[in-house]
């Protein structure tokens, strides 16, 4: 039989040591975030080095920087919205389909008659509308996000196909086309990149500096605790899918500007690209932690990889293999460096 008093004595030092150890690590707040972001910056730096060595003339040109950022801008805006949804513990599989539907709806002959404003307005409204449906189904219809947004993926793609009947809707509104042209650059920055930057900054502020962002993290971290803290969890979820829809609407408009057309195949597999970028950026797939900067870096990593491959004229098959390998490598590097940070 153990003496009670002895047991208490044995216990005390252990727990004291434990809390002391944890206090020590708690004196370095935010370290993990920095490590994660830094390691992703490291990956990007390695890629830039590879690009600079393998295709020095083309890769390091200003025009290539403009190109990479432009190519990243559309999926980047989608990823910002996705980051919010994933941070809240949800998922939005319908982003690509929403982009497709918004882009074709905004480029029908009827819409184009209303010019620039008509196209922009339609794209945004269609995105927000789809997001609203997603949000209502998930928040108030109690549907699992995976299923609700999968259903939206199917319906929005179907509707996009029905609107176009498979044909490519070419944009004839000059002001829209001009926005994607070289002479629209502002101080050498393409307007699409500026939109991307604006969405990133607003997204960062929203996630890190507002009650909305705080509540998003809380809902993803522990929905029940959030509810007990007085947060209207359902309304928060509604807003989040609405936000993702809004981002898709903006992205659809950007894609119209970029490609000068609307097609029902637009946004193909955006959902996977956006999820992958957010996850390698450091957003937790299970929710409760999200980083806009990480997501944007994730998008840039992917776009840079594609760019380097194209500049080196590598085959599609090689590109796909390498892309998969780099996702795994990026995540492993992060794990490793995080463990280092913990120790």
């Amino acid at each position: 039989m153990t003496q009670p008093a002895t047991a208490a004595q044995q216990e005390a030092p252990t727990s004291a040591a434990k809390s002391a150890g944890e206090q020590e690590s708690s004196r370095r707040p935010g370290l993990r975030w920095d490590v994660r972001t830094l390691s992703l910056l490291g990956v990007l730096a390695v890629l830039v080095a590879v690009g600079g060595i393998t295709a020095p003339d083309q890769f390091l040109a200003t025009s290539n920087l403009q190109l990479v950022l432009t190519q990243a801008s559309v999926i980047g805006v989608v990823t910002v919205g996705m980051t919010f949804v994933i941070t809240s513990g949800g998922i939005d599989l319908s982003v690509g389909a929403m982009v497709a539907l918004a882009s074709v709806w905004a480029t029908t002959v009827a819409t184009q008659e209303f010019g620039f404003a008509g196209i922009l307005f339609t794209a945004v409204i269609v995105g927000v509308g789809c997001g609203l449906v997603n949000g209502l189904l998930i928040a108030y219809g109690r549907m699992v996000p995976f299923i609700a947004t999968l259903a939206m993926l199917a319906s929005a793609r179907g509707l996009a196909l029905q609107i176009t009947d498979g044909s490519t809707q070419v944009v004839t509104v000059p002001s829209v086309l001009d926005l994607g042209a070289r002479d629209a650059y502002i101080l050498g920055i393409p307007p699409l990149v500026l939109i991307f930057a604006a969405v990133t900054v607003i997204g960062w502020l929203l996630l890190n500096r507002t009650t909305f962002g705080r509540r998003t993290v809380a809902v993803g971290g522990n929905a029940e605790a959030a509810r007990l803290a007085g947060i209207d969890v359902r309304r928060q979820r509604l807003y989040l899918y609405l936000l993702s829809g809004l981002c898709c609407g903006i992205a659809a408009f950007m894609l119209i500007v970029l490609s000068g057309s609307g097609q029902n195949t637009n946004g193909n597999l955006y959902e996977l690209d956006a999820i992958a970028a957010a996850i390698i950026g450091g957003t937790l797939l299970s929710g409760g932690r999200g980083t806009i900067i990480g997501s944007v870096l994730g998008v840039l990593v992917f776009t840079t990889i594609t760019n380097i491959f194209a500049l080196n004229n590598l085959e599609t098959a090689v590109q796909q293999i390498a892309k998969g390998a780099i996702i795994v490598a990026a995540v492993l590097v992060q794990r490793r460096s995080m463990r280092g940070g913990d120790a």
Binding site: T2, K18, Q23, S26, P29, R209, A218
Partner: protein, 507 residues
């Protein structure tokens, strides 16, 4: 207490969940500035009651009066607006947010209604932490990086960040060291001096005597006594109120001639330990013997069982079956050596809820019915049928869906699984949880019969009479340590409750 209108009155509160009547008429009266203690065994309805008070559950019937006015606590926000704050036992913090963010979650100081003024929140949090005697916690630290005790402090800071008149603390001392407990009591004293009322839930009578003013005792969803003086009510009386039962359990007779005395122990546990969960434990289990582990939730009972089973990796010590040590932390090794576990969360950890009785029973023995990977389903079904018949499982149909069975019969299916596997040691974690009182006697008989057939049984239960009635020997646990070992017939419920609740503090 000076006589004045009570701050809070709850009367006739009832609340049912599917299949459970959690609250069955609770009355509670709290005065401003008092520490009102809630006592009751596990499952007595304390947690449900405080969730009703926090606005997280809506009562089915009953009245709540707050400062003389009848109120409805329709949501957590409504409760907070009145000045009721709750510190939950299961920490309700968001690990991915910082201390300050958690403290002000849901009522962040803002500009323009939505932009969080982070520095204001941090300053206010630092002040609250200082007031709580923990100024060393940095408001910008992520809560996930704090120790359990520090998280408790953050929870408390969060409660104090509201304009409070009543704070509910659900076992606040459970995660704290002795010095921390002193600090907690100091805080409670400060609060009550300011006129704030505290509802204090604890299993430790000693604490209740130190800081409590009055005590309300809950049993099986009812308040059986209210407003008892905390200092002077005899322990006997409190324990009697908590344990008084309406139903007598029928326990099977113990075999004559002692329990398997003289036989070699089949299971030996030597110095098994897990840091922060339980101190080194030694125990021996002979064939034909039932050994009970008695203790409160959090005393390390389930953890010990799961560590023996290999589901948790021990920090020290070893487990031997028939004299052969097992590879630590390997469920596979334990199962191969003949250890079986009927887990506490039967539905979540034990059963394949969508499958039939037959597949649930045979799941640990599948390879026996397989040839080159192909299952001989007829043999599987027949063997499963045989096993469940031995335990007189109802319905006598191996194809019945497991989810349609009663709790007792589901538990029998879990036992049948190990029976079929032919294990030597059976670890039972809360075997009668969710089982009707009527069906328990049958389950007890089954467990005793398995022991008589030569099985060694290690039983964990939070219901003390169950341990005393069923087991041959009893180990009493308190906060991860074995504080008493005795023949079950030499112990009674009062003695055990005394041991688990006050332990070191009573001579």
């Amino acid at each position: 207490m000076a006589p004045q209108p009570p701050l809070l009155t709850m009367s006739g509160i009832t609340k049912s969940f599917p299949g459970v009547r959690a609250l069955d008429g609770v009355d509670l009266e709290v005065q401003a500035g008092e520490v009102h203690c809630l006592l009751g065994q596990n499952g007595a309805g304390k947690s449900t009651l405080i969730k009703v008070l926090a606005g997280a559950h809506q009562p089915d019937s009953g009245e709540i009066t707050w400062r003389g006015e009848r109120v409805t606590l329709g949501s957590p926000v409504a409760a907070m607006r009145l000045g009721i704050a709750t510190i939950y036992q299961e920490l309700d913090l968001i690990e991915g947010l910082s201390v300050a963010e958690n403290v002000f979650l849901g009522h962040e100081p803002t500009s323009a209604g939505f932009v969080v003024r982070g520095s204001a929140a941090r300053t206010a949090t630092a002040e609250l932490l200082k007031r709580l005697g923990h100024s060393e916690i940095d408001p910008t630290t992520l809560v996930g990086e704090l120790s359990a005790a520090q998280q408790q402090i953050v929870s408390m800071a969060r409660a104090l960040s509201h304009e409070v008149r009543l704070i509910v603390m659900d076992e606040p001392s459970a995660a704290l060291d002795p010095e921390e407990v002193d600090n907690l009591f100091r805080i409670v004293g400060d609060l009550t001096a300011d006129g704030v009322a505290v509802i204090y839930i604890s299993h430790r009578l000693e604490e209740i005597r130190r800081i409590g003013d009055r005590v309300t005792v809950l049993k099986e969803g009812r308040s059986v006594a209210g407003g008892l003086p905390a200092e002077s009510t005899p322990t006997d009386e409190v324990v009697a109120l908590m344990t008084g039962r309406n139903v007598e359990y029928v326990f099977p007779e113990r075999p004559k001639g002692g329990f398997a005395e003289g036989r070699e122990p089949v299971l030996k546990v030597e110095g098994l330990t897990r840091r922060g969960e339980f101190a080194p434990v030694d125990l021996e289990l002979r064939p034909g013997e039932i050994v009970g582990l008695a203790g409160l939730v959090g005393s390390g009972r389930s953890e010990i069982l799961e560590t023996i089973y290999g589901a948790r990796k021990p920090d020290g010590g070893r487990v031997l079956v028939d004299g052969t040590p097992l590879r630590p932390g390997s469920v596979r090794a334990a199962v191969r050596a003949g250890i079986g576990l009927a887990p506490e969360e039967r539905k979540a950890q034990g059963l394949l809820m969508l499958e039939s009785v037959s597949s649930n029973v045979s799941v640990s023995t599948l390879s026996r019915f397989a040839r080159a990977g192909w299952l001989d389903r007829r043999a599987e079904r027949a063997a499963a049928h045989q096993a469940v018949r031995e335990l007189s499982l109802r319905p006598d149909n191996p194809d019945a869906a497991i989810r349609t069975l009663s709790g007792g019969n589901q538990q029998k299916a879990v036992l049948a699984r190990w029976l079929l596997r032919g294990c030597k040691v059976l670890l039972l974690d809360e075997p009668t949880r969710g089982v009707d009182i009527g069906a328990r006697a049958e389950l007890y008989a089954v467990i005793r019969r398995l022991a008589d057939e030569g099985l060694a049984v290690l039983l964990v239960s939070s219901e003390v009479p169950e341990v005393l009635g069923l087991a041959d020997r009893v180990l009493v646990l308190r906060e991860g340590s074995v504080v008493h070992t005795a023949d079950a017939r030499e112990l009674d419920e009062h003695r055990v409750l005394d041991l688990v609740m006050e332990g070191s503090l009573t001579p």
